[in-house]
Symmetry: D2
Subunit: 345 residues, 4 copies
Amino acid sequence: MRYREMKYSFRNDYSEMCHPEIMTALIEAKNEQNVGYGLDIHTDNAKLLIREKLECENCDIHFVTGGTQANVSVISYALRAFEAVLACESGHINVHETGAIEATGHKVYTVKGRNGKLYPSDITKSLKYHQDEHMVKIGMVYISQSTEIGTVYTYDELRALYNCCKENNLYLYIDGARLSSGLAASDVHFNMLKDLCDVMYIGGTKIGMLSGEGIVIFNDKLKPYFRYHIKNKGAMLAKGYVVGIQFEAAFKDDLYFKMGQHENELARFLSSELKQLGIPMLSESPTNQIFPIFNKDDVNELAKLYEFEIWEEVENQIAIRFVTSWFTTKEKCIELINDIKNLIQ
Amino acid sequence: MRYREMKYSFRNDYSEMCHPEIMTALIEAKNEQNVGYGLDIHTDNAKLLIREKLECENCDIHFVTGGTQANVSVISYALRAFEAVLACESGHINVHETGAIEATGHKVYTVKGRNGKLYPSDITKSLKYHQDEHMVKIGMVYISQSTEIGTVYTYDELRALYNCCKENNLYLYIDGARLSSGLAASDVHFNMLKDLCDVMYIGGTKIGMLSGEGIVIFNDKLKPYFRYHIKNKGAMLAKGYVVGIQFEAAFKDDLYFKMGQHENELARFLSSELKQLGIPMLSESPTNQIFPIFNKDDVNELAKLYEFEIWEEVENQIAIRFVTSWFTTKEKCIELINDIKNLIQ
Amino acid sequence: MRYREMKYSFRNDYSEMCHPEIMTALIEAKNEQNVGYGLDIHTDNAKLLIREKLECENCDIHFVTGGTQANVSVISYALRAFEAVLACESGHINVHETGAIEATGHKVYTVKGRNGKLYPSDITKSLKYHQDEHMVKIGMVYISQSTEIGTVYTYDELRALYNCCKENNLYLYIDGARLSSGLAASDVHFNMLKDLCDVMYIGGTKIGMLSGEGIVIFNDKLKPYFRYHIKNKGAMLAKGYVVGIQFEAAFKDDLYFKMGQHENELARFLSSELKQLGIPMLSESPTNQIFPIFNKDDVNELAKLYEFEIWEEVENQIAIRFVTSWFTTKEKCIELINDIKNLIQ
Amino acid sequence: MRYREMKYSFRNDYSEMCHPEIMTALIEAKNEQNVGYGLDIHTDNAKLLIREKLECENCDIHFVTGGTQANVSVISYALRAFEAVLACESGHINVHETGAIEATGHKVYTVKGRNGKLYPSDITKSLKYHQDEHMVKIGMVYISQSTEIGTVYTYDELRALYNCCKENNLYLYIDGARLSSGLAASDVHFNMLKDLCDVMYIGGTKIGMLSGEGIVIFNDKLKPYFRYHIKNKGAMLAKGYVVGIQFEAAFKDDLYFKMGQHENELARFLSSELKQLGIPMLSESPTNQIFPIFNKDDVNELAKLYEFEIWEEVENQIAIRFVTSWFTTKEKCIELINDIKNLIQ
């Protein structure tokens, strides 16, 4: 059997198993017997805790194991056959889900947006364009908090977007794959979300859990028989309590929110140090993904020391992506900064 | 927060987290960084180990997180739009997946079968019935080993079935949700499977893992771009190494096979003790599911002491289901027998 | 170029173009310009006429070009992803649409039924069987009037069935591919249908039109945005007026109903003459399909003279199908009877 | 019953029933009996005639009743679940089919193109962008001849595009809704098409038939069981001979090609007269759609006299669309020109 030496990785936030407190919770349950399919006491507790933090008793919560599953389950439930979901061109459902939404029969209609974000004018323009039965009907708006390029919606932006959706009879869905990081970097608090969208998911895979995402449904119209739909989409887990236990642990003492704060702090530290070194950034990201720009030789050298993602070419230079996670330490960030210093001097 | 007292459960084989050796493997990896999406070294090792046990170097292996996901991924990949999969009426894809196969566009064409099993005559009759383009074309045959009612295919039965499939240009697919138990109860050995089907999955969720199923593709026609298909079906796990680590542990020292043997032994023990008490059985099951028949009052009393499934009414009596797992102990089986003795005397 | 001599055909009711009055209506419109997509005046008139005959002002009517299109459009509109349609095993959507319903994502759940018909007990048993989210949810009941084997529902049967559907929150859908023939043979009148189902289609292809089926929606829940859905299913015709003109002609002077009466009269004539010759029938069909049973040699001889369908083997004999249409004449029926007389004597 | 006065229409090429020769062919067959589902002699003859004109014996031909049906049938047959079709943003399948392609599970991936046309660089860029299994795989390229905005591919353009497709293992599919007009305006001849694409459809609805499109499959890989697929998509017509008769008539004496020439001549006449009046055009279209630009008042006045389509706003003016068809006469074009002259003077 082979074992691979791996460089320290800033590639993404799903390279490490799970936060120690979550692992502990799993270990503690190792001799339990639990009912299957998410009908267990841990899942119940996780739902109670999330509802408490949301200050919302009436939302429905369902756990699935991955972001694409969450997106597929929610979007295909909400839309009728002839309806499309509106998203940014950079939206995860448009780019990085191998047509999973279309596989359930729905067009992902995209607009350019700005900084990875949609604005009310994007919605109204899209609606105006789709005038009759020869074109799809827009039924839902999909956004991410934080976005695929690390930006966040402010409260005012989200409020305006949701108002626009309500005026136009559209569902607003928030993909919260990195919700913890998004919340820690914006003036949108967790308990405000119930008034800012119809449905969202609380990402676990990218926020310190083995796997698991919690779909939260605020709008009553999206609630009936949702468990049937999850099962129909292959997203119902027999050992649902494995996800329930993790969300129970993550929401018992604000661990979920602390992980996002930790990520953001380290990313901001990295970002400010890099700027001091004169390294330009592709974008202003206040969250756990940052996009410094290096020349090609430096990228090649850096790649001998660290794992990271090549993002895109920028005028003969290369933007790369560093991602911090619950696992990332300040020490490793300092090492990285020092290695970069040596490299560029 | 509420905590629920739970009676000891013989309800199913997914009530308990995972075998201690598998938990240990997960804990050991807690400080690792691994590449995502199943491209990590643990997943590689798991594949190597499975190929070794199969004595088959050329099969493709892909891990997903649930049985329905595995079935959906395999069946919808293999079939063209107008093709159907043939299954027993009792087949899991027909009864208990909430139309997940149909949701990908394919009819599940069913025949009655015998003892939960299909026979070559079922196939040839089905083919004869589907004569032209006004009817679906049968493209794949779906069976389970062990079956949904605990029976197993013998080597000769499986050989005959696969020969029939090959003669008729059909794929044969084995749902191995309980493969370990099925193998331990039949003369079909793991390394024979490469010659007895085109594709199968090795069940982990019901055999001592947190979750995870290993799809094994023998037929070259079913291999190209399968990773795209898994992603398209929402079944690709970002933290794929979490499943990889578990399969690595399960196949390092025959743990996977031992768990099935353990289950079957306890089920046979239960079964023979119950027969000695004069309790009739719904069927002869050599695997980890058994179906004793009690009168209704006894079922009600027993339900105060244990968790189990009500299976079906049988002439004013009730067949219930006991399932054993890696977690079940002989002590608990003896307790159960004693409680039943007290009950019926 | 080759031309084929064809024997006189009793094979089906779609072997001949269209009734002369319908052809005349088409020819009269040959120099018109009409708006596309069914928004023309002829289509409007056809809808008015149908609503008048139905004595129902509030139903929505949409024309498509084939029965499978109508079935696909209606069923996939009415059902949510995890819902199934209940049908007889012999139902057209189950047997003869090459999985078109499943291709839109829905299971066709079947029961045996009696004489090609469903009864309330079939519904209640099916509902009882589907208990939780691991199984599909029955959302709609599909029946045909007349049925695939020529039988018809009486008013009382249909009333009981629809009541049962309403009590159980199910849609009832009538496939009226041969509605004209079905109505002419039962005590169900056209204007009763509004109170006996939620949606139906009025078959044109098998009742004297070039092609075209009129979907009639009584239940308000099935109305919104239905045109979008038809387009999404590829069933919206650019030259919708071609179908509109035909339905206008068929409903102007009861032609639609007369064609069914004509068919049934000739089928009954055939049927009674054959019985007088001592020829047994597979079933009692009061509509335009009859199923006499002959020995194999006679079938072979008859096949030299006429086109007809081989239906099924019945104890070493063969049931064949004769179908009458608007085109069939009494003279040809007498010829057929005489040829059969000569054959069997 | 109401009857509507209609202004003379230049709105589109499907406002009129069918060419007199096609109507005659239909009338001549009115007393025939024909086999159903396109297995009749007329359909056979139509196929023979088309193959002769294509100088291609080995292509498969299938008739369906509408363009969306043809597109859905071909594209969903050719692509695997995770594959997308590449099209221009202006492509009919992207804009005007209400998500019908996505409804069969496939993403329509779009690029801007130029003048409604795709170029090899569009393909290679798209392929470069789609790198791994997290993104859809491009499997087919969709183009229209003529395009949605009236332009045409030259032989060299089409040759380059097809070569690019072959080098990259992609299918090239030509939507020929207006093929006759496209051919009459380009140096691509009908008999060249067999070497310039894998599959195409010959449009009938927009070229003088009641309805009907002829799918022509050149690539052997796209042939097996295609009839099953058509039926599965609800696109198989019981009275297939109704379409067969029309294509037989259209291809017997080059009528199909003459109709396109007629359309283009009148459109060119209109176009050159309008230019002489100093009216600007949105684009240079050599086919039967032209796009003159008027000020808003003139458009309103013209709309009192003629039916036409509002296309788009162009700097406070409005581009409208005139479409000519087999039905359009030179007299009516002259009338239109005169009315415009009066209007703008």
